[in-house]
């Protein structure tokens, strides 16, 4: 068996030229680490940093929305030319909105969420020594890091960062003269995005390959935890969708810099400057963008769903209800997510018949989502719910998913979308269903797997505080926004003072801003808890949550190759919680059925006739001995 332990070194070696691998230097252990656990932590810390930055950006523009007429000298001190006289510049406001969206969607909820937990959990939960290609995994992180740095560096260029909205629709994004943000800032945005996509693809390729090729003995697909299913399907989505965005971005770069007309046509700038572009189609970009863009929102939410399922099952001390239905609904969402992108384009002037078709597919996707929600509720029913901080966040995720998902039924309906498109109703919808829900899934993951990552526990009570303020805060922020949308208040407006009819929403905006500030301040409780616990938290035991999945059979100390000696074999599905007849209320996946005869059910031997026979014999013997008694 020593060959297995040795080979791991071989893996690390494989990609040549790192002569000094045997003894970990600081550089190879913390910086250019190829260990999936370290890479996961790198993703997490970078993701959290980016999240804090994006959150601060959101507070800045929330202040503008609440006090459009007030000057804040501090802003000028902080932002300089972007806030002349202490008031945000209108173009910079758009830049803030754009970069907030980009960072949150891509850098936090794609890389920060998938990157962290796929890296940490895939090898640990399927029983692998590391990823298929640890070197590629390392590259994936460093591309992500570089992309983050470039994205943030766009704040330093003269004309400011990209500001055409995170969807960067041309012609606005394609013509440097159309707005200041479409100059250097847009170029940096595009470079950053290409690097980011490269990073995501490298990650996703590794995740798929690891799940399919490197599962331990006994771990067939139907014994994988829902987390792994979610990460696996998310990675597939990424592989299919991201290259399409690259294609769209490449054409955009050509339009910007080489005078082609893929997306541009019949343009007159500034009322008299006729541009040479002819024959292009701005709608083409939207098709290419949303072909990625829509799967992207599922790339964001599916890992959160997987994490919440796992956390809720563990903390309810109850198997996840309808495991198969959960997997099939994930698969359903994956497949359907590729044929719904047109619902972002109902009012672009696209062929109305196409709009109708997209509306049907979009509303179909609500069915698997509904199934998931009901299954979560059924998981809680008659459970024995332990309120760990992770559990609370998982519940928060479900609550947000319901609230935000229901408004999706309005927006997926082309008829209703006519009046709701691009209003605050949309903002409220996606911030609840994919923003808050996904971030809560991520936080649930952080609280739950913190002991696995750092070998210490986070403070639960501070977690409670963090949860309640954030949870209430998020509802206070986004709930009133629905009504603004129903009043026809458009998103991405710098101020509502220019419209008599929108002025009455100013008080609501002020309220929302203060709720947002409150929720933002609550994040310091998390940050403090996170950093403090890394160094001084309570030491974790091997299986602090009494969970079944494989990662808790690995030692607390991080070792190369995850398990000393042989990787444990898997005998059962991961959700044997509170099984009648068992001594404990959990049975880890690595416990063979032969050791738990008293709790076995005929169902456990579905594909195992020999086992079923043995079980029948045992049951008969048991009956006899009972009779004797």
């Amino acid at each position: 068996m020593s060959t297995l332990a040795v080979h791991d070194h071989e893996v690390a070696h494989h990609d040549e030229d790192h002569g000094h691998h045997h003894h970990d230097t600081f550089l190879s252990k913390y910086i250019f680490s190829q260990d999936h656990k370290m890479i996961a932590k790198q993703f997490l810390v970078t993701g959290i940093t980016m999240a804090v930055i994006a959150m601060i950006l959101s507070i800045l523009f929330r202040i503008q929305l609440a006090y459009p007429d007030k000057a804040f000298p501090l802003l000028e001190t902080l932002l300089g030319r972007f806030a002349p006289g202490g008031r945000l510049d209108a173009n910079f406001y758009l830049a803030l909105v754009t970069i907030h969206g980009t960072i949150m969607v891509f850098f936090v909820l794609t890389a920060g969420l998938s990157g962290t937990f796929s890296n940490l959990l895939i090898p640990l939960q399927v029983g692998a020594r590391d990823m298929a290609s640890p070197f590629m995994n390392m590259l994936s992180y460093w591309f992500f890091f570089l992309a983050s740095v470039i994205m943030l560096s766009s704040f330093l260029v003269q004309k400011g960062p990209a500001s055409g909205g995170w969807t960067i629709y041309p012609p606005l994004s394609a013509m440097p003269k159309a707005m200041p943000g479409s100059e250097m800032g847009m170029t940096l945005w595009l470079i950053s995005m290409v690097l980011f996509i490269a990073s995501s693809l490298m990650g996703a390729i590794n995740y798929v390959s690891t799940v399919l090729n490197m599962r331990t003995k006994g771990m067939d697909l139907w014994k994988m935890p829902l987390t792994i299913w979610a990460f696996f399907l998310t990675a597939i989505l990424g592989i299919l969708a991201f290259p399409v965005l690259v294609a769209g971005v490449v054409l955009l770069i050509f339009d910007r810099s080489f005078g082609t007309s893929f997306y541009l046509s019949e343009i007159v700038l500034g009322g008299s400057s006729v541009q040479p572009f002819e024959g292009g189609s701005p709608i083409l970009f939207q098709h290419l963008f949303w072909f990625l863009g829509h799967p992207e929102v599922y790339i964001v939410i599916m890992p959160a769903m997987g994490i919440s399922s796992e956390v809720m099952s563990v903390n309810s001390r109850k198997p996840i209800f309808g495991y198969h239905a959960m997997v099939y609904s994930l698969i359903g969402i994956t497949v359907l997510s590729f044929i719904v992108w047109g619902h972002h384009m109902f009012v672009t002037g696209m062929n109305p018949f196409l709009g109708g078709v997209f509306m049907i597919t979009t509303l179909i996707i609500a069915v698997p989502s509904a199934v998931k929600t009901f299954n979560w509720l059924a998981t809680l029913w008659r459970g024995n719910i332990r309120f760990s901080a992770a559990m609370l966040f998982a519940i928060g995720m479900v609550s947000f998913f319901i609230s935000g998902g229901l408004t999706g039924i309005f927006l997926g309906n082309a008829t209703l979308d006519i009046n709701l498109h691009d209003t605050y109703f949309v903002v409220a919808h996606f911030h609840l269903v994919m923003g808050s829900a996904a971030i809560f899934g991520m936080l649930a993951g952080v609280y739950h797997w913190f002991p696995k990552m750092y070998g210490r526990m986070m403070n639960e009570r501070l977690g409670y505080l963090h949860f309640w303020i954030t949870f209430i805060g998020a509802y206070l922020v986004f709930f009133p926004m629905h009504f603004m949308g129903l009043d026809g208040v458009p998103r991405r407006y710098y101020a509502f003072t220019e419209f008599e009819s929108m002025k009455r929403w100013l008080s609501v905006n002020t309220f929302v801003t203060w709720a947002a500030i409150m929720a933002a301040v609550a994040q310091f409780a998390f940050l403090f808890n996170f950093i403090y616990s890394i160094f001084w938290g309570k030491k974790a035991t091997q299986n602090p949550w009494e969970a079944n999945t494989m990662e808790w059979t690995a030692p607390v100390e991080h070792i190369h190759g995850n398990w000393p000696g042989e990787i444990p074999t898997v005998y059962r599905w991961p959700y044997d919680y509170s099984k009648p007849g068992a001594d404990e209320d959990y049975i880890p996946q690595t416990v063979p059925l032969s050791q738990t005869m008293s709790s076995n059910l005929p169902h456990d031997f579905e594909d195992n006739p020999a086992g079923l026979e043995a079980y029948a014999k045992w049951a008969e013997a048991q009956k006899k001995s009972d009779e004797v008694k």
Partner: protein
């Protein structure tokens, strides 16, 4: 020990309370000058606009939380020492979930009544009424689901909170119930889809039916950052445009040389439309994507450069009626931009006024044509120039 800690905790609590009070007092006291500062001289900020105040406040809050945390810990420890049970956080959280449910439901109700009364009035167009109908159907259905699921979620949390003596009910799956809740939403959604699909078809099916009087053509063109309107003149036809001809004087690039229909095309500052007449809004953009958004009529369509689109609708409520209905004598319908288009995106609007047919005709008669004297002069110039050349040629011969 327990007694002592209780005293100390009380002390701590009062300290916290004092701090908080002080904070509030400061806040209240500073609010008045702050308001003055905001309206008056913004260059000299008052204390509460300064960051130091907030940092201090933040520090105080952190301090308070730290103290509360310590108190709880001391309390727990003292209980343990006395052989009593420490705080049962599962119960606390369970109760909090219940409180949240009740407070949240009340909050939602409050928001629905208060914010809900601020939303758009009923649609002022024919197709908009259908949209409203769909909207309310969907709202009722989703609200039922919302209330039921949230109640279930949070009562389950309270009802099944942790109890060391109890064991969870092992229930991995139940095919019947799973089928039920797959099929039930599927049926509801099918109904919504079918209604939505047909309504959508009706709204977007914009071919004029036979025998119907032709819609009134109105052109709306978006550019950074304004809308331009164009009405057909007496001939009822809009002339051709060509983006290459756009200049300062010919803002829409009307092709006077090619199409005579352009001669009587009118420009307007306000979109005045006759009530109960079918309007065909032709939508153009010159530079970037804009979106024509007229929420009161439930009209929205993007204006895409190089891709002219149109939206047909029939307004049913005049501005005057709406003013009466809303009790707001200054009410105006608006068209504004709803697709990010640059720095002044937030201020790109035009007034829409729905009037009676007679008023419309009267108004139309006062509008100026695009063919201004300046344009005429330019055109003449262009026409006479080749003639002059010919003359010169003739002279040379």
């Amino acid at each position: 020990m327990g007694f002592k800690s209780l005293i100390s905790s009380k002390k701590m609590l009062s300290l916290v309370a004092a701090f908080l009070l002080l904070g509030t007092n400061l806040l209240m006291a500073q609010e008045a000058p702050a308001a003055a500062a905001a309206t008056g001289d913004a260059a000299t900020p008052s204390v509460w606009l300064g960051p130091a105040y907030y940092i201090l406040l933040f520090a105080v809050v952190c301090f308070a939380i730290g103290i509360v945390g310590k108190i709880l810990r001391v309390y727990d420890l003292s209980q343990q020492i006395q052989g009593k049970k420490p705080i049962n956080w599962h119960n606390v959280m369970g109760v909090l979930c219940l409180i949240f449910l009740v407070a949240g439901m009340y909050g939602a109700y409050w928001s629905f009544t208060v914010h809900g009364s601020m939303i758009l009035p009923g649609a002022a167009s024919v197709h908009g009424k259908k949209i409203d109908q769909m909207f309310w159907t969907t709202t009722v259905l989703t609200m039922i689901v919302f209330v039921i699921t949230q109640i279930l979620l949070f009562t389950f949390l309270f009802r099944y909170r942790y109890n060391a003596k109890r064991r969870a009910h092992f229930l991995p799956h139940d095919n019947t119930i799973e089928k039920v809740w797959t099929i039930a939403p599927a049926i509801v959604l099918t109904i919504l889809v079918i209604f939505g699909f047909f309504t959508w078809q009706q709204i977007t099916n914009t071919v004029d039916a036979k025998g119907e009087t032709a819609s009134i053509d109105v052109d709306i063109t978006g550019h950074q950052f304004a809308w331009e309107l164009r009405y057909p003149g007496t001939d009822g036809k809009l002339g051709k445009t060509n983006y290459k001809l756009v200049t300062g004087t010919n803002k829409l690039g009307l092709d006077f040389a090619v199409d005579k229909n352009t001669y009587d095309d009118l420009q307007a500052d306000t979109m005045v439309l006759p009530v109960n007449k079918s309007i065909r809004l032709n939508i153009h953009a010159q530079d970037v994507i804009h979106s024509v958004y007229m929420p009161h009529f439930r009209v929205q369509l993007n204006a895409v450069p190089g891709l002219p689109t149109y939206f047909k609708f029939t307004p049913t409520v005049t501005t005057a009626e709406m003013r009466r209905q809303e009790g707001d004598p200054t009410f105006e319908y608006l068209v504004y931009c709803n697709k990010i288009c640059g720095g002044a995106h937030y201020n790109m609007k035009k007034v829409v006024r729905i009037v009676s047919e007679a008023e419309y005709q009267a108004w139309l008669a006062t509008q100026k044509p695009y063919m201004t004297d300046q344009v005429k002069k330019d055109l003449k110039f262009a026409e006479t120039k080749p003639a002059a050349k010919e003359n010169r040629l003739a002279l040379n011969n």
